[in-house]
């Protein structure tokens, strides 16, 4: 019993530390890559090629004054970043990041919890993050924040349904809600769900982009129209929490896409964990690439797109999958 608890604790700590490090260096990577897409250099000063920039940024944020604007709802204002931030960490619990390894004669699964309803859990937890955004917008007593929050809720109702439906095809094929099973089924590249469910992947990717508020769906932030959207009034650690949450969910989205469609940690020669990180890295870079390329959707366009195109396509995908399965 005790060993189980210790193993679990160690896993949680290791995953958490790596996750935080990844977030820190994701900000660096994003700035760097985006800069090169725009024929700039990006951070260069702090450490070689700006490698210490995330540390400097973190320190700076810590020492900033924590401001709560007058007329804001203090409790909700404080709670909102936490609501956005915590779910990003909870998602990690069910994502398998490697095959089981044997340490001191004990086999250890490289997943925090092999929960047999992993996908449902992820979707349940992930959609909590939006509440943080909406509440932040509402409690800030600032019209830009409020508009950001409103857009966020409009955005959520446009993609959430399609996001859920897009993975139904996989569930039908795999017959399991556990991510471990889903990864195990994708043991060779031909079994990757991207090839069996290409349409689902496209829908999933688009919805995931909307979920994590990345360009072209960064309506709630929309720097050039809404100052900074829902977190306009936030500073110091509360801002940092939104920031961590945002980049954390970017990593999560990559991890989920990898697990569902790209065989998770499966891959030849290299250790599974390395494969997993490579695939996540590729997704993250792709998200940044999209950011360097696409303009932002308008909010009515997004709603029309979500309900008029994505939802029918997602339903069609389920339909076709069902027909093929029964055949």
């Amino acid at each position: 019993m005790l060993t189980v608890a210790i193993v679990a604790l160690v896993k949680v700590i290791v995953v958490l530390v790596i996750f935080l490090l990844m977030i820190a260096y994701l900000t660096w990577w994003e700035r760097k890559l985006l800069a090169h897409f725009q024929v700039r250099l990006g951070p260069m000063r702090v450490g070689p090629h700006g490698l210490l920039q995330p540390l400097a940024d973190g320190l700076k944020l810590l020492f900033k004054e924590d401001i709560t604007p007058a007329g804001s709802n203090r409790i909700i204002f404080t709670l909102a970043p936490i609501i956005t931030f915590v779910p990003t960490f909870m998602v990690l619990a069910v994502i398998p990041f490697g095959k089981s390894i044997t340490l001191f004669g004990k086999s250890i699964d490289l997943i925090i919890s092999d929960f047999n309803m992993g996908i449902l859990y992820i979707f349940a937890v992930v959609s909590l993050g939006v509440y943080g955004i909406v509440l932040a917008g509402w409690s800030s007593n600032n019209k830009y924040s409020l508009l950001g929050g409103l857009r966020s809720s409009a955005q959520m109702i446009s993609y959430e349904v399609s996001l859920g439906l897009s993975v139904i095809g996989i569930l039908m094929l795999s017959g399991s809600l556990s991510l471990v099973n889903i990864v195990n089924q994708q043991d060779s590249i031909l079994n990757w769900y991207i090839f069996r469910q290409p349409l689902a992947f496209v829908i999933f990717l688009i919805c995931a982009l909307a979920e994590i508020n990345r360009i072209p769906f960064d309506l709630p932030e929309a720097d050039n129209e809404l100052v900074a959207g829902y977190y306009t009034e936030y500073s110091s650690m509360k801002f940092a929490m939104f920031f961590l949450g945002e980049y954390g969910s970017m990593i999560n989205a990559s991890a989920i896409a990898t697990t569902l469609f790209f065989g998770g940690w499966q891959g030849p020669w290299l250790p599974p964990v390395v494969w997993f990180l490579i695939k996540i890295g590729a997704f993250l870079s792709f998200f940044i690439w999209l950011r360097a390329t696409l303009p932002r959707f308008r909010y009515d366009q997004l709603m029309r797109f979500g309900w008029g195109i994505l939802l029918p396509l997602a339903l069609l995908n389920i339909f076709i999958t069902a027909i093929i399965m029964v055949w």
Binding site: Q38, V39, L41, L290, T293
Partner: protein
Amino acid sequence: MLNYINSLLAIPRGLLVTFKHLFKPAVTLRYPEVKEKLPERYRGLHYLARDENGDEKCVCCGLCALACPSGCIYMEPGENQRGERYARVYEINELRCIFCGYCEEACPVGAIFLGKEYEFSNDKREKFIYTKEELLVPLPGEKKV
């Protein structure tokens, strides 16, 4: 329908464009280490020239101040040992100056020029009022004020 397909295709096309840019050398100039090569006729901080004897060329005629659109040149005339008119006080407020170069054009004796110096930021407004001593090119062997 064609419209839709076209706009869908715009995404990969756009991605390709940005991807090509990824491999171009960055245009960023790493400023304090690397500096831009200034064009021949760059207009930076003024300097007051001297003649071949090392005397100040300026005769304090006031034409530069008259030409100056921002009114940032101030001078007071005086007489030197040889009884010639010269500028006892000559000041340019570099904060008001728009670096148009009209003063250089107006000067009948070629005494004022706009140089290539542009790194003269300071922490006090008063320090931007450059005195004659600061503007004059130093005599050989003299240190710049």
